[in-house]
Symmetry: D3
Subunit: 134 residues, 6 copies
């Protein structure tokens, strides 16, 4: 997490499509952390169906937010030169959003799925911050 | 009702991330048609600021819906084999969503921008229906 | 792409209340197709409670969208002359929206309920396209 | 707190489609009162374009909420016997929702339009409370 | 319609942040009444899991609306002089919103929790109407 | 910004009301940064009314999100012991949310208002991180 040490002032995030120019992969990561925490908590109470039902409702929403924040980065922040420099970027974001969908954290209660999603977001984040420095 | 006679089975559309398996680029196209109609109507009343303000609010929403429906196709419907068969697909969807954003129909009042967006959606639609037949 | 050849001009849909003038019962039908697919899928996995819970969340949302799209047609598209020419129209739309509510697809897991809803939407659609031709 | 003393039991409102059974035309009326207040305030500042733009955004939202609350009453609360007893009910709700749309308070800055909308809601409200007493 | 005769002027509600100036604790109370009705209905059908799942989805939404309406009052309606005159007001609203959250009606299926929430809202309402008269 | 240096792992944010336990004032700050950027950009183009109209729509939304994220912290994260230890906390959050409303960044195009809002959020953030360390 060297980024944190050297770049405290650039931690603003991004999203509005004015565009305001404020973007940050942290928004997707935060929602993914929530998704992971929801899975852990629900797994800790295997016999509490009431809790599981609420967790289902909320995990669905938070996973959707992960997808949304990643889509915003892909469409609004990343530009052709970025896709040229990082040829894996399209696939990476596509896989990450799939991991937050029905084939990923929306349906899964396996914490490993959430970790996989978080790892993909970290990869996107690394590329993002490299492009910001460039 | 000729439409019903010739093409009843392919008119379902798609989106929910259960997934229900129902997808259709028509959803994006419909919103883009709205965006175009909004631009045309507003341009027809150049001196009606009240109308322009309402049109701004609504064009912003409809453009966002175009982006959303295209993102859903890109993440939820299209799979790795599709991206392999259509190497231009990532760029195509990325450009289409950009065309519905701040660099496209959100900010623009030029009907040509809406037409460009509709053309991109038509390209995506052509690929989509080819993959459905495959 | 036969569909495109035979019916290119009537496939636009409608909704925004500028109004942009773009309306199409397909929007309601698409959501209803989703609702039906959700019911079929959930019934196919009678022992998968996790899946059923997600299906419940999503069926609730999609049924609400059916209601919304039908309400838009009823209020924004249909005008007094239409209600005069089709005296059953108020009741038809009212029944269709009820069929997408708590007394219909929101609570029911019977595929017949979804089919009933789709049939009502088809009736509305027939009237809609007749008025467009008039 | 005279209000509490004289009318404690009828002040519940309605809407969720469980259904919870709680309905009240006050929800539509409240939003319509907002719409009227927005119009009055904007008209009081004819030269304040910044204010007018914000008012446009908010009036659009509040008018949409009026439509939504009336649609909920029409579909979820009112039943066939009500439509039989009050043959004007379909037309009344249809006109009221139209008055909150593009042909009504969404586009208009005339306080008379908001008053007309409020009068329609009052008519619906009178019928509503009669059916509750029945 | 006795209600209309005795209390016509104070039944408007409030919320939009133009601000339109229309506020009413009834909005929060109505949602809380819904929450209570949902709990009662679900408890009446202890063996109906399908119903319980729908009730979970809807109770989550309605509880969130209670929180939202109370937050609007706290931020948009109440001013420094109110907080000075009613030193318990901050804590009261904070407790009420907590009672509509995970530690309250979102997680609980005990009707007593909903009653507690309604009682807090009534306290807030009493203060609200006192400030309106002042 | 010593916090960044010493506490990289606690930068997850918070919000879902399961609760997942993930909270972070950064969510409010990010939206407030957007609001500030929107104001700066709009002021840079004093003659571009089209841009100003879009900026109005978006600033309204982003300001509302600031309010929402702060309300979540106030109700869901902060507990009675926090309010006891920081007696200014109620007033601080109340003032911050007011600064993101009609009396603050929603209506204002003065960058100083956005800075004031950001300063309040920073104060809340400082308290937040102190309570996390405790």
């Amino acid at each position: 997490m060297l980024r944190r040490l050297f770049a405290p002032t650039i931690e603003v995030s991004a999203h509005c499509d004015l565009p305001c120019g404020v973007y940050d992969p942290a928004q997707a990561r935060i929602e993914a952390e929530s998704v992971k925490a929801i899975i852990v908590k629900a797994n800790d109470k295997p016999d509490d169906l009431d809790f599981k039902m609420r967790a289902t409702v909320i995990k669905e929403q938070r996973s959707e937010l992960v997808k949304h924040h990643l889509w915003v980065l892909w469409t609004d922040y990343f530009k052709p030169p970025h896709f040229e420099k990082y040829p894996q970027l399209h696939t990476l974001v596509n896989e990450a959003t799939k991991l937050a969908g029905a084939g990923g954290t929306k349906a899964s209660w396996d914490v490993a799925t959430a970790d996989e999603l978080l790892a993909k977001i970290e990869e996107i984040s690394t590329i993002f911050w490299e492009t910001k420095k460039a």
